[in-house]
């Protein structure tokens, strides 16, 4: 588990997230985790529309480069889920995040997500102001 994550975000499961098997569709968890990353960045003062527009200097964006996801238990309609996000490694051009989807004490989804910085569709170095904000939010591992 992740006793003290950098960020915690609550997601409600709606009709749109489920499939005919009766539980949440597997790709819906990626949407939940992307919302949580957006809110985590927002809390750090990084607004995705603004950085994409270049309102914060040079325009850039984030792109998912790699994911490892374990789908451990299914969520269901009406469930209230917690998505935790913690930086695990901050490199020069990419960030590794650890994300978990919990229902109460139950760990449903565990993921490691690599996010890359992109300018005009090409890999770019993380702007220093982004790196600094993230590093401050980086908790030391156990």
């Amino acid at each position: 588990m992740n006793a003290d994550p950098a960020h915690r975000f609550t997601v409600r499961v709606y009709y749109e997230d489920t499939d005919f098997s009766g539980v949440v569709y597997h790709a819906s968890y990626l949407r939940f985790m992307e919302r949580a990353r957006t809110e985590y960045l927002r809390e750090l003062g990084i607004h995705q529309q603004s950085i994409f527009d270049g309102s914060h200097g040079e325009a850039f964006g984030f792109a998912v480069r790699r994911m490892e996801i374990d789908f451990m238990k299914p969520a269901r309609m009406d469930d209230l889920l917690d998505v935790t996000t913690s930086p695990a490694n901050i490199g020069g051009a990419s960030i590794d995040l650890v994300q978990q989807v919990m229902r109460g004490e139950d760990l449903l989804i565990a993921a490691r997500v690599r996010i890359a910085c992109v300018t005009n569709g090409r890999p770019a170095r993380l702007p220093v102001w982004v790196r600094n904000k993230m590093t401050k939010g980086l908790r030391p591992g156990p």
Copy 2:
């Protein structure tokens, strides 16, 4: 406008809701309005998973039968939207709801949605307890 709707629900726009044209994909507003209906029902004490499972007596569900939607202005990434829901007519087997998506004072989407009660895939009369809860929440029109 809808000065005093029965229910108000806030939705944040994420990556998943937008398309390459730069604004929110038109079908995403239907997802937003469905979330708002689910929360409106929840506030009335009607939990969709439970009624579907039959935890409240005979199992039933709601199905959208008809929609009229005007897409007036587009929403964008990071927008915070208000979705209002008000019952406009409560029939024996269906309910007409008026829903609006607002960004501040701007009316983006106006919709009229007919929801039918369904048991085992067939039209059914609204259970009396549902009808009673909804009628209490029905505000008289101007």
Copy 3:
């Protein structure tokens, strides 16, 4: 019904399109109809990425302005659906299309969709070349 539509497009129902009630989620039909409109336009020689990029002269796009949709019967996982698209009216700045989703002879969804031409996010007149292509494809009503 629509005996001789301008365009016919086949859609398979997958997991992603369904919800926990066991049938297709209502907003999924809007995705199906949007795919059909894209293919209808493509058949007329109108490629959405290209017109958006301005590869065909001035950059423009299409936006859905209004929909009336009747959800008559539900589709299910693995169903093979036909989506028909026919222009019903071609105005100076918008096009009305009639779309139907069929499963064999069964009419599941009937919709009327108003599409507007948009340049830089503002309403614009339909380019003449688009109007001409569409009008040629316009079948006289009964």
Copy 4:
């Protein structure tokens, strides 16, 4: 690369698959790969709605247990993509598949997906008839 995959499936990119950054939303590739798995199973004579309903003996379903995905290059609106699917390992209760999303010769997405057999929401052994069909389709590695 995967010179001779067990199954090849074509996907067109539509509006719904893209996001405001201009390219395909990362979770959309999971939908594409799920469609390809469904068609791969269908080709083996395994229809998801039927096995879920129990039309083929005991009711069961498949659930995604683990994914490793590399997002190498982005796809765009109007792109025509090939999704290849090959069994990499067939265990007693789960199957590992290798999936790739290609645009022509360009490898966009490479994934390894573990699918588990589930009965009444619990892990179950793969039915022998499913295992046999899959094993016949299993190509020896290089």
